[in-house]
């Protein structure tokens, strides 16, 4: 039931990513300062923004779950967080590569956005052990939602605290916000952001579809495996209906 629209969405994603890559390599100008390596910006920053928005969306879905009690929202929340954690791994790897190329170290503590992202990532990485340590499925869904809401509130607080912990005199090496970007770079960046967001939505939809399909399969299996009415000796009377 989640599968509807998956095909056009996938096609749009492929087209979007292809367009984004073409723009990155053939349209956007080379950065005067950093040269070719700056192109990783078009991958790293959209991934980071998508992952963060995904975490916040996970929190919003969790609120919907807690308010309505509908388990569908818990599945949405879980898949949103799951996909954002995967994107988060990519953010940390691309950030690390960028740091190595432009500062000579695989990890730098001076870049508050990257450090904040690491802490957010570590927070959400505990979502899995937390969720799967709770056995009762109904309780699991509820507690996971409370976790998602709590972590969602934690994200902006964490960014604030980390930014404040940087000494004020330290110069920002480059603006991760869109402050000083020339028009052509800005346009490329926005296309990349849209393509990455599309990829996220497609993957979320795909996982939801797979989850719902495997759930249906499990239900069908159980129905098949159940002893036919009247066949089992232990039953006193055959079930009605």
């Amino acid at each position: 039931m989640y599968g509807k629209g998956l095909r056009p969405l996938s096609i749009a994603t492929v087209v979007g990513i292809a367009a984004a890559l073409l723009l990155v390599f053939f349209y956007a100008p080379l950065d005067a300062d950093q040269g070719f390596i700056q192109k990783i910006f078009y991958l790293h920053v959209p991934l980071a923004i998508t992952a963060l928005v995904g975490f916040i969306l996970g929190g919003a879905f969790a609120i919907a779950h807690l308010r309505s009690g509908n388990r569908k929202w818990d599945a949405y929340s879980y898949v949103a967080i799951h996909m954002s954690v995967i994107f988060g791994v990519a953010v940390l790897i691309t950030g690390s590569i960028w740091a190595k190329a432009s500062w000579g170290h695989w990890w730098v503590w001076d870049e508050p956005t990257l450090v904040s992202f690491l802490i957010v990532f570590l927070m959400y990485a505990t979502y899995y052990p937390f969720r799967y340590a709770i056995e009762d499925p109904e309780r699991q869904a509820r507690y996971a939602s409370v976790f998602a809401v709590t972590a969602g509130a934690f994200v902006p607080l964490n960014f604030m605290a980390v930014r404040m912990a940087q000494s004020l005199v330290h110069p920002r090496v480059f603006a991760t916000a869109n402050g000083g970007l020339p028009g052509s770079m800005m346009f490329t960046f926005l296309v990349c952001l849209a393509a990455t967001a599309l990829l996220w939505v497609t993957l979320v939809k795909l996982e939801l579809t797979a989850k719902s399909a495997s759930g249906q399969l499990k239900r069908l299996r159980r129905a098949l495996d159940a002893p036919a009415p009247g066949a089992s000796g232990s039953r006193i009377a055959p079930e009605v209906g």
Binding site: P129, A133, E135, F147, F154
Partner: protein
């Protein structure tokens, strides 16, 4: 007095009395913290600490000692059927959150009353920083009490409860620790207490406390539903 207020007072009094009679958490927390100071003495190979090093040692120790208390917070409720009793009673469930958070806050305050003077005795040249440090300690305690109660109440229902509480709580209190160490660092500086960005850090601590107290209060109902 409203019914919730009575429930809150009753649960809190029960918790404090139980702790006073069994002494399950507090002595262990204090002993743990003191031993950790000794380990830092050798691990860092310093007999005097100041500035960021002093703030780091103090807060890392207090946080890990607090985790011991957090882990124990709901164990009795779970094992002796306290949760069922609360669910049966016609009271606001948030009263349990408020009472447990207050109890944890009280444990932390008592812990620091014992352990912070020991820290000063071990590592600090003077006790001048301890006065303003109280404000930082109290605000950070409030944050740990709010998040600790929330996480502990969930972790206690899981398979790996002793593992899960610290696992989830540690990243959650990172912003709180950033602010607490940020405020403590100039206070513990070698040349006497300084107040560099003290107000800003206290504001971050207060904001953290406010957000997670409200959040805990709001979501706690969902944790007791069954």
């Amino acid at each position: 007095m409203t019914a919730s207020r009575i429930a809150y007072m009753t649960i809190l009094a029960k918790d404090l009395r139980a702790e006073l009679r069994t002494l399950q958490s507090l002595p262990a927390m204090a002993l743990f913290a003191t031993t950790t100071f000794v380990i830092f003495r050798f691990g860092l190979d310093r007999t005097q600490l100041s500035g960021s090093l002093a703030a780091g040692v103090l807060w890392a120790t207090l946080l890990f000692a607090a985790l011991l208390g957090v882990n124990r917070l709901f164990v009795a409720e779970r094992e002796e059927g306290g949760f069922d009793a609360i669910r049966l009673a016609p009271i606001d469930r948030s009263a349990l959150f408020a009472a447990k958070a207050t109890a944890l806050f009280a444990y932390l305050a008592v812990l620091e009353l014992v352990v912070v003077p020991i820290f000063a005795l071990f590592f600090l040249g003077s006790a001048a920083a301890l006065g303003p440090l109280v404000a930082v300690l109290l605000l950070a305690d409030l944050g740990i009490a709010a998040t600790g109660t929330l996480i502990s109440s969930m972790a206690v229902h899981s398979r790996a409860r002793d593992l899960l509480g610290p696992l989830v709580l540690l990243p959650l209190v990172v912003p709180l620790m950033i602010a607490a160490t940020g405020a403590s660092e100039p206070l513990l500086a070698a040349g006497g207490p300084g107040y560099h960005r003290f107000g800003g850090w206290l504001a971050v601590l207060s904001l953290y406390d406010l957000i997670f107290l409200l959040l805990g209060w709001a979501v706690f109902d969902f944790l007791l539903e069954d």
